[in-house]
Symmetry: D2
Subunit: 144 residues, 4 copies
């Protein structure tokens, strides 16, 4: 039933989410999504690592994209909860990869877990679990 | 380096954790663990489902067992954080299966995620992420 | 608008929640609730402390009671998320006191934070944040 | 024993945390901290509100500052866990105020809860609970 492609989501993000400019959807469907988030100097904190807020951003974006893949382009969906564990120091010179697996997509809430990696390394740098509130008029495509 | 078998963990739980009497380790190793938790009438709440505290117990036990599999039998390890999302109504007449994947086992903290199922159903009933504090004298086997 | 008294909630719990038999509402209103949870030998784990699942139970009950105080007796409200941090070893021979402060009571979700104490000690033993899903027919009193 | 003033923390942040340039410590001590985080156009997302990652940043910073107030200026302290609930839409044109209360400052972990407000409004826009890992050589001032 998923009729939203990663190209459509990338186009939507490029148009409506300037904050997501560093993110690109690389896989979408089967109850999940994978994104690549470009790391440049602005994302680094002292000591040469990727900051916590940037990792939060990637987790949030991966979950949002995965939800869009299930319910369609819904600009108004909002995160209600995010729990994130920081596991290892990310590489300063590698993109961050976010892999989201949806655990439930209900009428009102969608819940997913996201594992974050530094590109090329199998040991996760962070793991998050998040909840999205789905607007009552589910699936509607609105243009703000 | 994992020299702890599921039989050893089951024997340890039977001896030292009367609260875990309903739990049985069915798989251990490769950075994870699977447990089966027997559901009987005491675990049910009005409406005929498994209570939240029982699901919490299963998540906590699955994580504890997975950590034991990595660091050895350490009775004093303690949970410091558990975040649990309740996803679907569990079956009242099915055992709960807890599948833990360790995300990191460091010198001081171990973090894992746990997916909980009603036996025989692939849709998870709950998902948790937890942290254990590892005692300074890591790996020591102590008998309280 | 809160027309539910702690006596009414205690009566409801006594009738419909045998698992809550050890809990007693001692304060209700002003966007919060306080409960006392009786600790006896069944609640203890090796080493003589209160188990994590019991602390989870107290947090969950305190939040549930606080929500009931705001929306009325709604047996079907369900916890969707609980995040709990275990801070200090609880006293084995003291009741657990749970103090819930509601952060938001919306149409669909109620969120609260709960601080847990061993009776008579000001240092919290645990802290939790939880979310309840409120049934669509908000405020209705139903008897399962 | 708290010998760190808010002025010292502000000076430290200004020197070593360019990302914290929008934050200012307005109160410090007694097991907590309050910060003010300036909101300008970069922090806004479509619909005219403060983004989730910005609220995360404020929570993280408030907790970090509160921990510094207890253990001294320790640049290497790292967040290990953050759980955040988004409660209400923040005002687009108000600063965000973060109020952190420390729940525990142990030898290895510090845990605190943070309530976030839009300046001038008593209803919280978000609430978070976070954990910091404290470096083994506690209290040492190091300059990376």
């Amino acid at each position: 039933m998923n009729t939203v492609s990663k190209e459509q989501v990338n186009a939507f993000l490029a148009r409506d989410f300037p904050q997501a400019a560093r993110g690109e959807v690389t896989a979408l469907g089967d109850g999940g999504a994978t994104i690549r988030y470009r790391i440049d100097h602005d994302a680094l904190r002292p000591g040469g690592t990727v900051s916590g807020p940037v990792l939060f951003t990637v987790a949030d974006l991966a979950l949002y994209v995965a939800v869009l893949g299930e319910i369609g382009i819904v600009p108004l969906a909002v995160t209600t909860n995010m729990n994130i564990n920081f596991l290892r120091k990310p590489s300063a010179d590698r993109d961050v990869i976010g892999v989201c697996r949806l655990l439930k997509v209900g009428k009102r809430l969608a819940i997913g877990e996201i594992t974050l990696y530094s590109d090329g390394n199998d040991d996760p740098v962070a793991h998050a679990t998040g909840t999205y509130a789905i607007p009552p008029a589910r699936g509607a495509v609105t243009h703000p």
